[in-house]
Each structure stands twice: as C-alpha cells, then as structure tokens.
C-alpha cells in the first residue's frame, strides 16, 4: 500500500468517525470537535489520494488551505451559538424535541 493510499484510508476512517460523532453526540462542544475531525478526514483524503508517484500535487493543498479557513469560520460560528445557548438555557445540549 502506497503512502498516499494509506493517508486516504485513514482520512475515510476519520471522516466516518467524525460524521458519526456529529450525528450521535449530544454534548455540543464534543459535536463541534467531531465536525473538525470529519473535516480533517476529508482534507486527508484530498491530499493523500492526489499524490502521483510520491510527488505531492499542489492544487489539492491549496484547496485544503481554503477548506481549513472555511472550517475555522464554521467552528467559530458554532462556538458563538453554543455560548449564547449556554447563556440562555444553562445547557450545552440541544433540547430533544422543539417542533410544533
């Protein structure tokens, strides 16, 4: 197994773990962390798969840089919202059912 494929496989596993975390974990801070794990997994696949004969491809690296900026912005927004929710309700969890 080449190094690139190894990176990509680890990336897929991280992505799956992170996605499961975002969907299943109730605690919002841990959920935000899970989202970051998920994003890192996708970045690893992007960089890992694109290696040709052991030479790194610069285009996906530029993409990952952009992706990291987006992930940071999303994390900041999520944290701000969680802080606000905590200030209002004193909980770091989403209520079970608020439809209706």
């Amino acid at each position: 197994m080449s190094a690139g494929l190894l990176f990509a496989s680890v990336g897929v596993i991280l992505f799956a773990l992170g996605a499961a975390g975002v969907l299943l974990i109730g605690h919002l801070l841990r959920r935000i962390l899970a989202f970051n794990v998920m994003g890192s997994g996708a970045f690893l696949v992007l960089v890992g798969l694109a290696q040709r004969n052991g030479i790194a491809d610069p285009v996906p690296q530029a993409m990952v840089l952009t992706g990291i900026v987006v992930a940071v912005a999303a994390t900041a927004l999520a944290l701000a919202l969680v802080r606000r929710l905590y200030a209002l309700t004193g909980k770091i969890e989403l209520p079970q059912d608020d439809e209706g």
Partner: protein, 473 residues
C-alpha cells in the same frame, strides 16, 4: 459583468456592517437594484449569444477560477435577484429601528446573496463547495438573528445539518479529484463514463446525499421547519424561496452534467429522488395540514413543494423536464416568499402566530389575505399561475412516458395543498371575537407581499421566455 453580481453584494454588505447596527438599508437597495439589472442583462445576453464565460482576474481554468453562466444559472440568478429586491423593501418596513432581530440583517443578507450568486456562476466542484459553505454560514447567522433560545437551537440544528451535508460533498470532491485529477465540471463530463470505477459511484452518492440533506429532501427535512418557521418573516422568505433551491440547482447541474452517464447506466437510480420527493409531498402536506402555528404550516408546505422538484428526475431524458423543474422552482420561490411575507404581516397585526387566532383578518387586512390566497393558488397549481404551468408540463411529460404514477402524485399533491391553504383562509374569514385587537401594520408589508404573489401568478403568462432561457446550454 458576472463578477459584479458577486462583488456588489459583498461590497454593500461590508459597508452595511461598517456603518453599524441596522444601517445600510439604502446602500443595500441601490446594490440590489443594480444586481437585478445585471442579472437581467446577463439573461438577455445568454439568450442572444449562448453560454457566457469569464476568467476571474484574467487567469483561465486550470490555474484560476472560471465563471460560467448558461441558461440554468442565468435563470436562477434572475430568480434570486427578483425575490431579493421586493424582500428588501419589505424588510425595511418589517424591522423597526431598535429591533434586535434586524441588527445584522443587511450584512448577512448581502453575504448570503454573494454566496448564492457565486454558487450559480461557479464552474468547478471545489469552488461550489466554498460557495455552499458561505451560503450556509450566512443563512445560519440569519436564523440565529432573533437571539432567543428557540432560534439559537434551530440555528445550531441547521448549522450541523448543513456542515454534515457539505462535509459529505467535500469528501465526494476529494474522491473525484483523486480519480481524475480535476474538478472542472466541463472537463469531468466527458471523463466520467458508465464504466467508471466504484470510487466514482461512491463519490457521486456522497455528493448527492450531502446536497439532498441541504435541500431538506424527505427524510432529511428535520432541520427545515424549526429553522424556517422560527426565523423573522423576511429571513424565512429568503431561506424558503431561494436558499434551498441553490442545493437543488447543484443536484440538477451534477445530475445532467458530470454524472449523466452514471445515471443513464443505472436506470433504477433515477427513481430514488422521485420516490423521496413523493414521500416529501405527502409527509410535508400532512404536517402542514396538522400544524397549529401559521409559519410552521408554511414551512412544512416548503418541505412538500420541494418534493415536486425531485419528481422530474425520471423524466429528464426527454426535453422539457428541466424546464418544468425550473418553472416549479420559480413558482414556489415567488409564492413562498409572498406567503411568508403575508404571514409576517398577519403575525405583526394579530400579535400571535397560531392559525386559530387568524379570525377576522379577512375584514381588517384584505390585501394581505388576498396575497396569501394568490400564493396559495400557485402552490395548488391552478391556472393561470406559474405553478399550474410547471405541474401541467410535469403531468404531460409523465403521461407521454407512461409514468402515470408521477401524474397521480402531482394531482394529489395539489389537492393536499388546497387543504392547508383553505384551512388558513377559512379561519381568516371567521368573525373576530369582539375582544380582539389588531395593531395596524405598515402598508409596505401588505403591498410587497401582494406584488410578490401577483408575480407568481403572472409569471404563468410569460412562461415561454423563461423556458427559452433555461434551454440554453
């Protein structure tokens, strides 16, 4: 010219932010007016001389970023600006000067529109990812703008849904890049053939699933009703009318573009979106019929109406299906914006948001109720509305290909829409209890809703031009 469609909203949004709380209205208006003109000229240009292209900063596709406008993108751009301008007029009257919900309304709307316009003009998969995130983050900000616990909860739920959706999309892009070494849609289209490796199938599945989550297609609709039903009325209108359509547009674009040979190879795959769309129509309508709060009713109606968009996928092989889908997107966009605007005026006037509390509004606010009714006509698909045109075309195509089941679903969906629209109208025509008080609302709220609803009807008479525009590829 295309660049200005993206730069203008970014510019006025940034200035509005610098000017401070609740300011920048006139800047936004001027910008929106210019954007509408730009979108209109772009559409004219596309009809006259085919697909328009622009290399940002003079750098072409492999190194730089290309912007491409074909008929489909030009139509979506036009729809977005057509809804945004009247909505801005409405929002100016809706938010009072010291309303906390309106504090950052203008900057966020500007960023949202910049993301939307960039999304419609993007020509490569990664650029689309970035615009999707821009759009999602701005939309979450707008949902949270009210600042109450309920809005924050809805915003967080929406944020996680949209992040998972774009995460799945990004993983798909990564796999595609790994397989072909490019993300340009035009380069990928001939490369992906029916014999593509399994990796590409997985990538396609991930991207489609992520985008369906963002479009709130059943069973991924769980985040939409609280987010759209809980936000201030101008925000709900914008989200329901155009934001969910953006990810639908992407599904359509990928489906008929890069993944077209995959979908032809697996003929059963085309029925999956149609099946989910059918379930969305029934489930969304059922929930709308049951909903107790007016805005929840309208939000569930969005879930149902989005279902129609996915009925076109088994029919895409024949000409006209694309046009039917875009016509439905226009009809629903204009009508749903009008409905949320009318609901906002009704809620402001009656001071509460239960359907049961609407008694007497027919007498006191006839214009608003008329707007709601007109929008309802489009949702039901009665002639001469744009909704009628879309549904008629859908039924005609379905029957010509012997897919009578689709025609049946469209007809039943129209009846179900009639049930929930008349539920509101019936309540509105009841006599008000003597004790009820209604606060007068600015005229502008009523008339902009009316203009939007009238547009959704009148578009039915100008359908040919729109279909001609969508046909340009």
């Amino acid at each position: 010219m295309m660049v200005w469609l993206i730069l203008l909203p970014l510019l006025w949004a940034s200035f509005a932010f610098l000017l401070g709380r609740g300011r920048g209205v006139w800047l936004a208006m001027a910008g929106l007016l210019a954007q509408l003109w730009l979108a209109y000229t772009l559409a004219e240009e596309v009809v006259a001389s085919g697909v328009a292209m622009h290399a940002v900063g003079g750098w072409g596709a492999p190194l730089g970023i290309d912007l491409v406008a074909d008929g489909l993108s030009a139509a979506m751009l036009l729809l977005t600006q057509c809804i945004a301008l009247p909505l801005a007029v409405y929002a100016r009257a809706y938010f009072k000067r010291d309303d906390p919900a309106g504090t950052y309304f203008w900057p966020l709307v500007g960023f949202l529109l910049a993301g939307l316009n960039a999304l419609f003009l993007s020509a490569d998969l990664f650029n689309i990812y970035v615009t999707l995130e821009l759009l999602g983050l701005a939309a979450v900000g707008l949902v949270a703008a009210g600042g109450g616990a309920q809005q924050i909860t809805a915003a967080l739920r929406y944020l996680f849904a949209t992040l998972v959706g774009s995460g799945a999309y990004l993983l798909g892009v990564a796999l595609i890049y790994g397989a072909y070494g490019t993300v340009s849609i035009t380069t990928l289209t001939p490369l992906i053939t029916a014999e593509a490796p399994d990796l590409v199938w997985i990538a396609g599945g991930l991207m489609m699933a992520g985008l369906m989550l963002k479009t709130a297609l059943f069973p991924f609709h769980f985040w939409l009703p609280p987010a759209h039903g809980g936000a201030p009325a101008p925000v709900s209108a914008l989200l329901s009318a155009v934001v969910v359509k953006a990810s639908f547009y992407l599904i359509l674009r990928l489906w008929i573009g890069p993944f077209s040979s995959l979908t032809v190879a697996a003929s059963l795959v085309v029925w999956l979106p149609a099946l989910l769309g059918t379930l969305a129509i029934f489930w969304g309508s059922y929930q709308a019929i049951r909903a107790e709060r007016l805005k929840m009713l309208i939000a569930y109606s969005t879930v149902a109406q989005l279902g129609y968009l996915f009925l076109i996928f088994p029919l895409l092989a024949s000409a006209g299906a694309l046009q039917a889908g875009i016509m439905q997107a226009f009809a629903h966009g204009l009508a749903k914006a009008a409905m949320f605007m009318a609901a906002g005026a009704l809620i402001k006037a009656t001071g509460q948001d239960m359907v049961a509390g609407l008694a007497g509004v027919a007498e006191r606010m006839p214009v608003t109720l008329f707007a709601f009714g007109l929008a309802g006509i489009t949702l039901m698909g009665l002639p001469p509305s744009a909704g009628f045109l879309a549904k008629w075309q859908l039924i005609e195509l379905a029957l010509s290909q012997q897919h009578w089941i689709i025609a049946f679903v469209v007809l039943v969906g129209g009846l179900l829409a009639a049930v929930y629209v008349f539920r509101v109208l019936r309540q509105a025509f009841l006599l008000a209890p003597a004790s009820s008080v209604m606060t007068p609302v600015p005229r502008m709220l009523e008339w902009t809703a009316f203009v939007m609803a009238a547009a959704s009807i009148l578009l039915g008479l100008r359908g040919v031009e729109l279909m001609q525009l969508v046909g340009v590829t």
